[in-house]
């Protein structure tokens, strides 16, 4: 559920409706740098109506999904 929404946000952000994303995809593979990551995390916070702590480095989509699941649990 969280993963699907994250994929949708990523596809909108990159304006690539067909973008292939898996839990193991890294931000680097998706050609997203650290500044993109910050923008995306904020969009995800709005979308999930929660606040995500960015204390650890986010490398993969699984990292983000994990943080969101923790935040909304």
């Amino acid at each position: 559920m969280v993963f699907e929404k994250v994929v949708e946000i990523l596809r909108n952000y990159k304006e690539e409706p067909e973008l292939e994303v898996s839990m193991d995809s890294t931000f680097e593979e998706l050609e997203l740098d650290s500044l993109d990551t910050v923008e995306l995390v904020m969009e995800m916070e709005e979308s999930f109506d929660t606040s995500i702590e960015m204390d650890t480095e986010l490398k993969t989509i699984a990292d983000v999904v994990g943080l969101i699941e923790k935040a909304i649990a």
């Binding site: 910050v38 904020m42 204390d55």
Partner: protein, 315 residues
Amino acid sequence: MIKTPLCDLLNIEYPILQGGMAWISDAQLAAAVSNAGGLGIISSMNADENWLRQEIQKVKSLTDKPFGINVMLMNPHVDKIAQVLIEEKVPVVTTGAGNPGKFMKIWIEAGIKVIPVVPSTGLARFAQRAGATAVIAEGGESGGHVGEMSTMPLVPQVCDAVSIPVIAAGGIGDGRGIAAALMLGAVGVQLGTRFLVADETNIHENYKDKIIKAKDIDTILSGKSLGHPVRSLKTSFSRDFVKAENDPSTPRETLEEYGRGALRIAAQEGDAQKGCFMAGQIAGMIKEKQSAKDIILTLIEETETALKGGLQCVK
């Protein structure tokens, strides 16, 4: 007289911060800048907590004015550094090379004013939410590690994105630049390169001479392929580095190794073959060595002239 809300916020006379430059900004320079009415900042670079504690005690012995410490978040000793800042009751902390989120809470609880350097509106909003006192919006015209955006478009967009005070940095070399930054919505400025030639700056004379000699086109960006671009003076070192970087057969590790320690060599040994002389694009505007106090007084006088002159355009 130039006064902005930043002066009251940081308890300083002039809204000028001296950037925390690794291997360059030490207690002596920071104290000179703070004594002159600006905010002097010590760079804690990759140093450990013992070195930093000594520098903090030294700056306290040289000035009773506020000062700051720049924390490089990729420093392997960063957790211990974070504690020393609290124990030593450092008034202001600026951060670079990452997201300071992890430490914001403990620093703010300890009464430290935290001012992250941000290269985008996203990180500025993050900093504000985490309780930052202000942000430094730094454009890629600056020396050392730089972001993509230039100061002119970055500062007003950061000002629109956050409600906390914004300090402009990158490409500011004289009072005209400060006046422009204030017009973009900033309430203060941070200058690094301008202070490289201060009498109180402990770097090799070769470094200072190179800054005085530099023209507008004499800086170069290297290391972009490594993900952390650096602006420095064009020297045989930086030209060779860029050449190697543009050669696809150069292994990434070789480049990393090549660049290691190059700033220290520039600052301490002044060796143009092996040193990386970090400097911003305003290096070409710097014509003389001055004391930190004279630099600040000159900047303020020029800012007043520029701002008053601007009114002539209003009909």
